[in-house]
């Protein structure tokens, strides 16, 4: 069977439209491309990592319409129409600045390969549960594999941010009338 080379690939391509990190984005993907492939290869958002490609390690976590999902378990075409936020987007918007700062201060990362996924989980957890105890934090991290840290520093960092956020929330907002 004679084939027309690269044209085949282009013929199979599907156009996917997403709002990625706040910007409208369109890209052509093969039907078999996963969301993590599309983000990393097509959109060059390499902060999202692939560690197992079967939903076991959490390195590929991104936010899809505000919920943490495994980008390795979804085909890119399934994300059509969705809002995707990756580590790059969350970092630029400043919503996880306190988490990043505390991870840094507490050295809650070594090689950093698990770190974007850890931050996704931490962000997700704290948006549902403002005062998780250590047990709850460890439980929330149960889908995030880290080979370097032994987890304790990550738990410490998330606990410290939860506490700081709660303290801040309980103080009267600046400029409020007395």
């Amino acid at each position: 069977m004679s084939r027309a080379g690269d044209l085949d690939e282009a013929d199979d391509a599907v156009r996917v439209r997403m709002v990625v990190n706040g910007r409208k984005t369109a890209c052509d993907v093969a039907p078999r491309d996963t969301l993590v492939d599309c983000l990393r290869n097509q959109l060059e958002l390499t902060g999202t990592h692939a560690g197992c490609e079967m939903g076991a390690c959490g390195a590929c976590l991104v936010q899809l319409d505000g919920r943490a999902v495994h980008a390795c378990l979804m085909f890119a075409v399934q994300a059509d129409g969705a809002r995707i936020d990756t580590i790059e987007g969350l970092a630029e918007s400043g919503v996880i600045a306190d988490l990043q700062a505390e991870f840094h201060r507490r050295n809650a990362l070594q090689c950093g390969f698990c770190t974007p996924g850890m931050l996704m989980t931490a962000h997700d957890l704290l948006s549902h549960d403002a005062r998780p105890d250590r047990e709850t934090i460890r439980d929330a991290l149960s889908g995030n594999f880290c080979r370097c840290t032994g987890y304790e520093a990550i738990v410490d960092a998330i606990a410290a941010v939860a506490e700081a956020r709660t303290t801040k929330a309980s103080q009267p907002a600046e400029g409020s009338s007395s």
Binding site: T46, M54, E88, Q110, C111, L119, E152
Partner: protein, 791 residues
């Protein structure tokens, strides 16, 4: 000439300070640059067809359809790469009599483990390359596979290499003398067999490499996720016949290594050759399944141990036999016998006894290679020793901590040597032991244990004393003929604006190498840490050096940086002296300012010295040549290794109905000499402990009878996760080595060295009332229930 190393109140005193890692912020923003992330112009992608048999002869390979697939640029088999790559053999001269078959990137006629790469495809995308693999058919003639360790040792066993007489790779024996007499005279003789499963490092970033050969210049650039770029520069140069200076190896951000990424892998060697054949960059990233079948595995030991003890509980002698299986080849260039060699040399090392005998047998089998992984040999030696100590304590009727207090080498007995000949400069077993007793609140914990036991709750306390080999000299590899450096080099420059740039041969995998080197340089020069930029991981940029392995980064790399910084400081002060008309010895540098040593008053900024030297050298006295770049090398001398020591404790609960073990708390007291950054040391210990805890309870590469790996995925191979891991309490004793000015020793493997031994002892402690005993790792629920006769 300098202030004391650890006075934390003087300006720019960074040695001993818990400062965060400057280079970690990028990683937190998703701006890491791992090899996995790198894309080069015209880059192609490699994928490998792997053997489905553990042992088979290759009859023929039909790759026509794959070659014809659009987008495929090359399909290569063994002979294609053998034409350009010379074979390698994983033996070293100081392991007398060891053998291993020569290896090539892809096999010529025989496959020797299930998962071995057989055919390479290079295509425009990884997906296309994988499509092409499905079009290749290989005709195999199956050969008998050597899978079981005991079967492999039988005479007349099927052989991994049919051309030789046995499956033995290496044998060694140690005998201090007096062993039989000691056993004959001992009141108690304890005997026990142990087994340790195979596990594997499972770095979160898999192995990744991009080779980029440019035929016009004859230049090879390799972006390689490795700890040891210089070692690979040397190997690529020699095996592919490219002059060393034309080989550049760059190791950017690495997603974990732990020893795994410093071995030669067949695929990595192949990728270099594929790039040479194509004249284009070729990338290969192992997927997780490929990692499980082709990354090195580790451990896999069967140990028989005997210990002779007198009536008072004093250890008199030990006699051990370790058999370890290493797969089909010994790895290159570090071999696969170092682990076994360290097992037999480290057993009993914390204890004061004279008579020791050991035998080691290293055996081939049709599985992927085992080799050096974090704490090489230590966890096995420690588990055997510490379990034997507990068994002896029980026999004599002593508390485990008291038994250790009676037997460890006394803190005032140094320098001394182990019965196996390891020389110890100064260790602190007694101090660590007392510290641990307080840290754990040992007596209270025992009381709580007893109280809970009455209520049917079975908790266990485990203790493990250990020593760790760090700061290796050429005695480790160099003497065996390996071109693996034990020295490091640094090039330190004062930049024109008065900042400092340090290019050093030790490398970063997240442990904080760059952070501690910048702390040392800033501290020794007298400048702010943020004005020091560290460069690592590029053979084109830094001097040649050993890089990072065997816990040498802080001790050897740190001393290199310290000595280089002192030299640069002397050079800066010499120019300052000329400008200020002062004796350099009367000047010092504090916070980037040259000050009078006596007055501490600022006289001139370092930036001004840089400006004058670089741009207005005409204003310096005639004949002055400012040397604001120094290159300096440091090789360890004195003791062949800087041993460290410590002790760990573990508190856990065993559910005797389900066999599950719940880790409650872990304790570490460690002595790594001078601590440069206490936070980073503690995090190294925690990470190391958790790798040991994973080994103790979960991790095992399980094989079927035909040599197939049965659990090669992250869903099937269990790794320690956050909710299973305890908090880890850490304390330190500091005994600096006198072999260096810095006094630092290593700490990266200490956690792993003793954690699994601790768990083994704690589980057995929890089960004592049942008369049950476990002497195998991992301690799975099934093993616990079996020991309790409930399974």
């Amino acid at each position: 000439m300098s202030a004391p190393l650890t006075s934390l109140d003087r300006p720019n005193s960074y040695i001993g300070r818990a400062v965060p890692r400057p280079n970690a912020k990028r990683l937190l923003a998703g701006r890491g640059r791992y090899v996995t992330d790198i894309r080069l112009p015209r880059m192609l992608h490699a994928a490998f067809l792997r053997s489905s048999h553990a042992h088979a002869r290759i009859i023929s390979i039909d790759a026509e359809a794959a070659r014809a697939l659009p987008g495929v640029h090359l399909v290569a088999t063994g002979p294609d790469l053998a034409k350009i790559c010379t074979p390698w053999t994983g033996t070293l001269d100081h392991f007398k009599g060891m053998t291993s078959e020569p290896q090539l990137p892809l096999p010529l006629e025989r496959v020797v483990w299930a998962g071995q790469a057989v055919v390479a495809v290079v295509a425009e995308s990884r997906a296309l390359a994988e499509d092409a693999l499905e079009l290749i058919s290989v005709d195999y003639e199956e050969l008998p596979a050597v899978v079981d360790l005991d079967a492999a040792r039988q005479s007349g066993a099927e052989r991994v290499n049919p051309a030789v007489g046995s499956n033995i790779c290496f044998r060694a024996q140690l005998d201090s003398g007096g062993v039989d007499d000691a056993f004959a005279s001992a009141l108690h003789v304890i005997e026990q067999d142990f087994s340790f499963g195979r596990h594997t490092p499972v770095t979160l970033e898999p192995r990744a490499i991009i080779a980029d050969y440019e035929s016009e210049s004859g230049m090879l650039t390799v972006h390689h996720a490795t700890q040891t770029p210089y070692q690979f520069q040397d190997l690529y140069s020699r095996h592919y016949g490219i002059p060393e200076a034309r080989v550049r190896v760059i190791a950017p951000d690495i997603g974990g290594s732990f020893g795994m990424k410093l071995h030669v892998y067949h695929e990595d060697m192949a990728v270099v050759g594929l790039s040479m054949l194509l004249g284009r960059p070729v990338k290969y990233v192992a997927d997780r399944i490929e990692s499980f079948v082709s990354d090195i595995h580790a451990r896999d030991h069967q140990v028989k141990a005997r210990m002779a003890v007198d009536a008072a509980g004093k250890i008199l002698a030990m006699d051990v036999h370790d058999v370890t299986a290493i797969g089909a080849f010994s790895t290159y260039p570090r071999t696969s016998v170092v682990e076994g060699n360290q097992v037999i040399r480290l057993i009993g090392a914390p204890y004061d006894f004279k008579s020791y005998r050991a035998a080691l047998e290293v055996v081939f089998q049709n599985k992927v290679q085992t080799s050096q992984y974090r704490a090489v040999g230590h966890p096995i030696a420690c588990a055997v020793t510490e379990r034997m100590v507990d068994l002896a304590a029980a026999r004599v009727g002593l508390d485990p901590l008291a038994m250790r207090a009676n037997n460890v080498i006394a803190d005032d007995a140094y320098p001394t040597a182990s019965p196996t000949g390891y020389k110890f400069e100064a260790l602190s077993h007694q101090a660590c032991l007392e510290r641990l007793r307080r840290l754990m609140d040992y007596d209270a914990l025992r009381a709580e244990q007893a109280e809970l036991r009455r209520r049917g709750i079975h908790r266990g306390i485990g203790i493990a004393t250990f020593v760790e080999i760090t700061n290796p000299s050429p005695a480790f590899y160099g003497v065996g003929g390996a071109r693996i450096s034990s020295q490091d080099g640094a090039t330190l420059s004062l930049t024109p604006s008065g900042e400092v740039r340090c290019a050093i041969s030790v490398t970063e995998q997240g442990q904080g190498t760059e952070a501690i080197i910048s702390q040392i340089v800033a501290d020794q020069l007298g400048v702010a840490q943020e004005h020091v930029k560290i460069l690592t991981g590029d053979t084109e940029v830094t001097p040649h050096g050993g890089a990072t392995w065997a816990c040498r980064g802080a001790g050897i790399g740190g001393e290199t940086a310290l000595q280089a910084a002192r030299q640069l400081k002397a050079n800066i002060l010499e120019i300052a002296g000329l400008i200020l008309q002062e004796q350099p010895a009367a000047l010092d540098i504090v916070d980037g300012q040259v000050v009078g040593k006596a007055t501490q008053k600022p006289r001139l900024s370092v930036a001004e010295i840089a400006r004058i030297s670089y741009f207005r050298s005409d204003t310096l006295p005639p004949g002055t040549q400012a040397q604001l770049t120094v290159s300096h090398h440091f090789a360890p001398q004195g003791y062949p290794f800087a041993f460290t020591n410590g002790i760990q404790g573990c508190y856990l609960e065993v559910d005797v109905d389900t066999g599950f073990v719940k880790l409650l708390k872990h304790y570490v007291v460690e002595d790594c000499g001078r601590i440069i950054n206490p936070m980073l040391v503690d995090e190294q210990l925690r990470g190391g402990v958790v790798q040991g805890l994973g080994a103790a309870l979960f991790e095992e590469c399980r094989y079927g009878e035909t040599g197939q790996l049965l659990n090669g995925s992250l869903a099937d191979y269990l790794v320690p996760m956050a909710m299973e891991m305890p908090d880890i309490v850490i304390d330190h004793v500091e005994t600096p080595t006198a072999d260096t000015i810095l006094g630092a020793k290593g700490c990266g493997e200490a956690g792993t060295a003793a954690a699994s031994a601790c768990v083994l002892n704690a589980v057995n402690d929890a089960l004592t009332t049942f008369g049950a005993s476990i002497n195998a790792i991992p301690i799975t629920p099934a093993r616990v229930l079996k020991a309790l006769n409930r399974y």
